[in-house]
Amino acid sequence: MISKIVISAADAVRDIADGATVMVGGFGTAGQPIELIEALLEQGASDLTIINNNAGNGTTGLAALLAAGRVRKIICSFPRQVDSQVFDGLYRAGQLELELVAQGTLAERIRAGGAGIAAFFTPTAFGTALAEGKETRHINGRDYVLEDALVADYALIKAHQGDRLGNLVYRKTARNFAPMMASAATTTIAQVSQLVELGSLDPEAVVTPGIFTKRLVEVGGALPAVTEGQ
């Protein structure tokens, strides 16, 4: 019998090694797999490259991982936020490498990585500082920039429900980067708010098919303030 369920967040992240590249889901705090990030902090891996839309909020989650000095490089689209003081300080001190990527290009680079596409031409950022040094091409009357795919050793994502095969559904805008990240990492680890029996997810509604998920762990189970249907 296939079961990808692990008993704890600590068990889920046990083998993440120093120097690993780790994709982390979430847009701000929506969809941020906070328990997995905390487990990674506790586990102690360092010299990490993190791929996330942002660069941490406040002092918890990703920000705590940065503050602990575990991250060498971050690939993201929007590090600067009102509460990104941890990132801001490290970046200004030259202690953190930043690769800034336009948000749609970030999403597409991850999708390409998961789909076996090495690189693609996109019109985004043509003629801007973010295209400097990159190959460009004029195709059918429009200018494009060549962008490489992104892959990772691990993806840490958050989903709403999952079954033992690793089929996942998400909740509202907390879906954001998780489906692409799930496909682009060697080992995808999902924390789910609810583990459900095999067969209870509508196959037509599954967003991330289980083939992409290597491990899943149920955490908390607490839903946000308002549940669906209200």
Partner: protein, 215 residues
């Protein structure tokens, strides 16, 4: 004497140009205000790039759901017919030319439609681009809403941008407190002036070669 429009007036003016049936992305900041003035008799579908179509108003205190936020990370609501999707689909909607209108703020817009709105270029500024560059090139029409002058009187509609660019030749129309400017390949057309401003007066204030839209 009638003065220029205030920020609500500018947002209201943009809203009147958004047609029935349009799929629209409103950027963070002043563009978000446009949603307060969309004509109630038109069905307009709002897109938020973090993964939703059919976005409703900002959530009231008893409606807050931290899984349902807009691109500015503010809790919002969903309207009947809403849909959720991941970020690659969301940005594919833009880049693929499916979105009708995008409304953005700007530091500067050039008369050839170049947009600068993501980075001041300051030595100590932390760069953050988010969806700005994708939005700039990703809608059938890109509308900019901005005050025509900075607080210290510099015109933000310029011959050539001095701030780092977000996109090249991407802006179609600029809505300001003084006038609406259409950026066309043959020049800048003043579509409408507000208050007591005249096209001649605007040309003096901005130092730009402005043309009046006939009729």
């Amino acid at each position: 004497m009638k003065g220029p429009l205030d920020r609500d007036g500018m947002a209201n003016r943009v809203a009147q140009d958004i047609p029935e049936g349009a799929y629209v992305n409103l950027g963070i900041g002043l563009p978000t205000k446009v949603s307060n003035f969309l004509p109630v008799d038109r069905e307009i579908v709002l897109h938020t790039e973090n993964g939703m179509l059919g976005m409703g108003p900002v959530a009231g205190a008893d409606e807050i759901d931290l899984d349902l936020i807009n691109a500015g990370k503010i809790p919002v609501t969903e309207l009947p017919g809403a849909s959720y999707f991941h970020q690659a689909d969301s940005f594919g909607m833009m880049r693929g030319g499916h979105l009708d209108i995008c409304v953005l703020g700007a530091f500067q817009v050039s008369i050839s439609g170049d947009l600068a709105n993501w980075h001041t270029g300051g030595a100590d500024a932390i760069p953050a681009v988010g969806g700005a560059m994708d939005l700039a090139i990703g809608a059938k029409q890109v509308l900019v809403i901005m005050e025509l002058f900075t607080r210290d009187g510099q015109c933000k509609l310029v011959t050539e941008c001095t701030y780092p660019l977000t996109g090249i030749g991407c802006v179609n129309t600029v809505y300001t407190d003084y006038a609406v400017f259409g950026l066309q390949s043959d020049g800048v057309y003043v579509r409408e002036v507000f208050g007591d401003t005249s096209v001649t007066g605007l040309a003096e204030m901005t130092g730009l070669p402005l043309q009046q839209l006939p009729g």
